[in-house]
């Protein structure tokens, strides 16, 4: 269980999250909806251990998170993967798609597995750099990277907002296959209500609405 209790985050004097609670259970897709600027992405970063909240508690499978970013143990922070809204900003522009997708293996010293095929990346695409591919192709590499270390929880922060319908369907199907295969918990953040319903329904997961 990935559980956030009373998470409060402020940027300077601007408070973006006020005592937010959220639980992501393993094996189901939890939906998170809300208007732009309500703090969904900030909450996603807190859940991925990338931002220390100003108040509140985060537990990952019963372990309370006390250290954040680099300081969090590697085991804990690789248990939660985050897929960003804008793939172009989420990749180092100097690396090839293969290097991007395989980065977590090299960072943790684990044997490299070929995940490109699962997300629909051809060998010809893998040698290209981010500026030579489309947003959809780049997001596929980001999904491969996020799933590389077999995380227990995957947070999809508006993952498909900028993509065409077929890529959207493909990536959601890939995440669904991953969830069924590993029993991982998925947090689907989007303001596309139709997508949210289609995504959360098969696993019967709840949808949380932020205001």
């Amino acid at each position: 269980m990935l559980r956030a209790d009373g998470i409060t985050v402020a940027y300077g004097r601007q408070r973006v999250l006020r005592a937010a609670d959220l639980t992501v259970a393993p094996g189901v897709v939890t939906g998170l909806a809300g208007p732009s600027g309500c703090g969904k992405s900030t909450l996603a970063r807190v859940l991925a251990l990338l931002r220390r909240p100003d108040a509140g508690r985060l537990t990952v499978d019963g372990t309370e998170v006390r250290r954040w970013r680099h300081r969090a143990s590697r085991d804990l922070r690789t248990r939660v993967a985050l897929i960003f809204q804008q793939p172009r900003l989420a990749v180092d522009p100097r690396l090839t798609l293969r290097e991007i997708a395989e980065e977590p293996f090299h960072a943790t010293g684990r044997p490299v597995e070929d995940l490109a095929d699962e997300v629909g990346l051809t060998p010809e695409l893998l040698v290209r750099r981010p500026h030579e591919v489309s947003d959809g192709q780049l997001q596929r590499a980001c999904v491969a990277r996020a799933l590389a270390l077999r995380p227990r929880y995957v947070i999809c922060d508006e993952m498909t907002t900028m993509l065409d319908a077929s890529t959207q369907a493909h990536l959601v199907a890939r995440l669904e296959a991953y969830r069924r295969e590993t029993g991982a918990g998925v947090l689907a953040i989007t303001h596309d209500e139709e997508l949210l319903t289609r995504w959360t329904e098969p696993s019967g997961g709840p949808t949380v609405r932020m205001t």
Binding site: R77, E103, R145, A148
Partner: protein
């Protein structure tokens, strides 16, 4: 490349060839004192004239440039390396470490650096090492500031978050994501530092604190030439002066070109 960049590159190549080849093939000894031909005006035999003890100014300018360029390069490398390490540490560690390092930078910047440089060379006997230490220890702060501010913007980029989330430790993020992005900035800072370091070497030698007087350096030559300036011997200090200006201008033209290429948006905005 524009015509001015080609000319600048040509000048630098010519100067580099001169300082590398001339000492190897020259028939004359640059330290040879010939009092019979002292203070000769520029002529075919001595295109830049001779100094007050009859040494050929052209030959000594080339030897002097060799020493000054070498000191400029080493001092630039030392200052940029120290600065880059300090800036990287401040940016990556953040918090208290950042505050301490930046206060040290402020401290160094609050003292006029020529004065501080003079203080440092005064601790040593005149030697190239003293000049390198003096320039290196007074000029690292610029590189530190550049590197730190770049690291701060890089740190906030989502791909760094993605790397952390993917299990990368601090060192790996620095090696894999920060350094490749920082290298062009560091390279630019070091190239810009070379002419500046040459100027400092010249200034310190001119004040009699830099290099030992027998060693031909551009600063020593201007210093020597200044004595005979009132007697109307303008060539002994003018030519060394021009040879400080020449590589400085050439390097700054090339840096300008490089900067425009590295940032095409800036160039297109300028053309509007």
């Amino acid at each position: 490349m524009t015509r001015s960049s080609w000319i600048a590159a040509g000048v630098l190549v010519a100067l580099a060839l001169a300082v590398l080849l001339v000492p190897a093939v020259a028939q004359l000894d640059q330290q040879l004192v010939d009092l019979r031909s002292a203070n000769r005006a520029p002529s075919l035999a001595h295109p830049f004239g001779t100094d007050e003890v009859g040494r050929d100014v052209l030959l000594r300018v080339i030897y002097g440039l060799r020493v000054s360029l070498l000191i400029g390069l080493v001092a630039a490398l030392v200052s940029v390396t120290v600065g880059a390490v300090a800036g990287l540490a401040a940016g990556v560690l953040g918090g208290a470490a950042d505050r301490v390092i930046m206060r040290v930078v402020d401290g160094f910047n609050s003292v006029p650096h020529l004065l501080f440089g003079i203080f440092i060379v005064a601790l040593f006997s005149p030697s190239p090492t003293a000049v390198v230490a003096s320039v290196g220890l007074t000029h690292w702060t610029t590189a530190a500031r550049i590197v730190r501010s770049e690291v701060l913007t890089l740190r906030a980029r989502p791909f760094v978050d993605a790397a952390i989330s993917g299990g990368s430790g601090r060192l790996r993020v620095v090696r894999r994501h920060f350094l490749p992005h920082l290298l062009p900035h560091i390279a630019l800072a070091s190239v810009l530092m070379v002419p500046h370091a040459i100027w400092h070497e010249t200034a310190l030698s001119f004040l009699g604190l830099g290099l030992p007087p027998h060693l031909a350096s551009l600063g020593n030559m201007i210093n020597d030439g200044a004595r005979s300036l009132l007697a109307g011997n303008w060539w002994a200090s003018l030519f060394p002066g021009l040879f400080i200006l020449l590589p400085t201008l050439a390097i700054s033209v090339l840096v300008q070109h490089w900067r425009d290429r590295a940032n095409p948006r800036r160039r297109s905005e300028l053309q509007l």
